[in-house]
């Protein structure tokens, strides 16, 4: 296997790893933005 192919074979792992941490983080930021809106509506 060439180096380029091996690097490409890491792509699914890369996507999974970033989604693993990215999705909960996005949820946290979304909840924060909901609270933040109170500053402008309150």
């Amino acid at each position: 296997m060439t180096e380029q192919t091996e690097t490409a074979s890491r792509t699914p792992l890369m996507i999974l790893a970033w989604l693993w941490v990215g999705l909960p983080f996005a949820y946290g930021v979304y909840e924060l933005l909901l609270k933040l809106s109170q500053l402008f509506s309150g």
Partner: protein, 470 residues
């Protein structure tokens, strides 16, 4: 045999958790390391949302506010102690071992707490979440630091900024999640115990990604196009290494300790009293701030704190660490001055200045590992970082103490509005100026503190490249 004066580092094979089993193959992508670090930091950052559990615990176990704060307080103390004293172990055993220990301690802390609540034995909650979980916080906090800087020698500020931003993000996730879970399971002893149990299990699974994914670069590995000689030509950046033991004997370590301590004290000063402060500032104006708007302001500060960690830390890779701290401390002092002089003139002035201060607070946390790497090298930077975090513990007491004590005494003296905070704001300005001067005192570390050149040995009698290592 190695030459005289060279230090021998043995890479013997070991179990799954050993450093030798985590050496990355040549095709490994360094962009897989930040998610590994984030899986740990996003989890342990939960500590800052402990307040969610306080009211239900007080009601279910008949506790006072002081008692219900004990698990968090012990947890933060243990964070400082385990980061300070566990650093050398983390350096010796590697990031996978450290992340595993962090995962076991942090998750076990919740499981022991679940047992404690279910059996109405509150001391088990203090022991579990505070003591056992607190060890997980400290070891987890420093676990990815030196690994990230070895993978990103060209952008160490950005790399550690990502991880330390994760610590800020942990509370953003845990706070609404824990609240929803308590809403589903109930706030009696059974419901709280179930909530703790689920937290322990979910965090164990979530953190296991870090344990499985983390890799250290092979000796001598460097990113494409990176020239260490060019990087070392920058002021204060060293290619030498200083041990944790020697680092604390240098004036640079203690100047940086003061810098971190006072930068954090100034940030916590606002963060601690953010909601009442903005309400008091505009209480006697035409635009008073409601309770819900104040809660929104606190959320905005959290966002600034988190964003500052990645943005300013990455900026430090471009302008240098010393210049970055000049901004945090110098501009921070000016922003505090504007708040104290004209903070009540308009909400926009107050909010923008507070945002700046909080972004510098987060940036100060995130940039310090890279500053340490510049001064002391990557050899034991995780352990040195652990010892520096004692400045955080001191600031955690100092900041709220100053602001609360002064606000209380001013209130007792019959003062209202911004007058409650004027003295504290001037004290914060003074602390930032001392921090600024302390930063100016930082010079390159003297050669006498440097370690002898590293020599790695894979098999007895075989010398390998001196790069990388540790």
């Amino acid at each position: 045999m190695p030459e005289d004066g060279q230090k021998l580092i043995s890479h013997t094979s070991g179990g799954f958790l050993s450093r030798s089993r985590t050496i990355a193959p040549p095709t490994w992508s360094r962009w897989l390391v930040p998610p590994a670090a984030l899986s740990v930091h996003l989890s342990i950052g939960q500590a800052y949302s402990w307040s969610v559990f306080k009211p239900p615990l007080e009601k279910a176990l008949d506790l006072s506010g002081t008692q219900s704060a004990l698990p968090f307080q012990l947890g933060i103390v243990m964070l400082g102690l385990s980061a300070a004293f566990g650093g050398p172990l983390v350096e010796r055993n590697g990031p996978r071992w450290a992340m595993f220990v962090s995962m076991v301690c942090f998750a076990s802390g919740f499981l022991i707490s679940a047992l404690g609540v279910a059996t109405s034995q509150y001391w088990l909650v203090v022991l579990g979440y505070g003591f056992v979980g607190g060890i997980g916080l400290g070891i987890g906090y420093i676990s990815p630091v030196s690994t990230l800087m070895k993978w990103f020698p060209d952008r160490p500020g950005m790399a550690t900024g990502i991880a330390i931003m994760g610590f800020g993000g942990g509370a953003l996730i845990a706070s609404p999640w824990s609240t929803q879970m308590l809403g589903s399971f109930g706030t009696g002893t059974g419901g709280i115990a179930e909530t703790f149990l689920v937290h322990g299990l979910v965090y164990a699974v979530f953190m296991s990604l870090g344990v499985l994914l983390v890799r250290v670069p092979a000796d001598g590995w460097l990113p494409k196009g990176f020239n260490p000689a060019k990087s070392a030509a920058k002021a204060l950046v060293t290619t030498a290494n200083v041990s944790a033991r020697n680092a604390i004997r240098t004036p640079q370590f203690w100047f940086l300790w003061v810098v971190l301590c006072f930068n954090v004290t100034a940030g916590i000063g606002i963060l601690e009293k953010a909601a009442p402060m903005i309400q008091d500032f505009f209480a006697n104006t035409a635009t008073p701030i409601s309770v819900s708007a104040a809660a929104g302001f606190v959320a905005l500060l959290s966002l600034a704190n988190m964003t500052g960690r990645i943005v300013w830390s990455s900026t430090s890779d471009l302008i240098g660490r010393k210049n970055m701290y000049r901004v945090y401390l110098g501009v921070g002092a000016v922003l505090y001055l504007i708040i104290s002089l004209w903070g009540d003139s308009h909400t926009v002035v107050f909010i923008l200045c507070a945002l700046g201060v909080l972004s510098f607070y987060g940036g100060g946390f995130a940039t310090v590992p890279a500053y340490l790497k510049d001064l002391f090298g990557t050899f034991q930077v995780g352990a040195i970082h652990g010892r520096l975090l004692t400045a955080w513990s001191v600031a955690g007491v100092l900041g709220p103490l100053i602001v609360n004590a002064i606000a209380d005494s001013q209130k007792a003296a019959g003062k209202t509005g911004p007058d409650l905070y004027t003295t504290s704001l001037y004290i914060m300005i003074g602390l930032l100026v001392i921090g600024f001067l302390s930063n100016e005192m930082i010079r390159p570390v003297k050669d006498k503190y440097h370690e002898p050149p590293l020599v790695t040995v894979d098999e007895p009698g075989t010398l390998a490249t001196p790069q990388g290592g540790s």
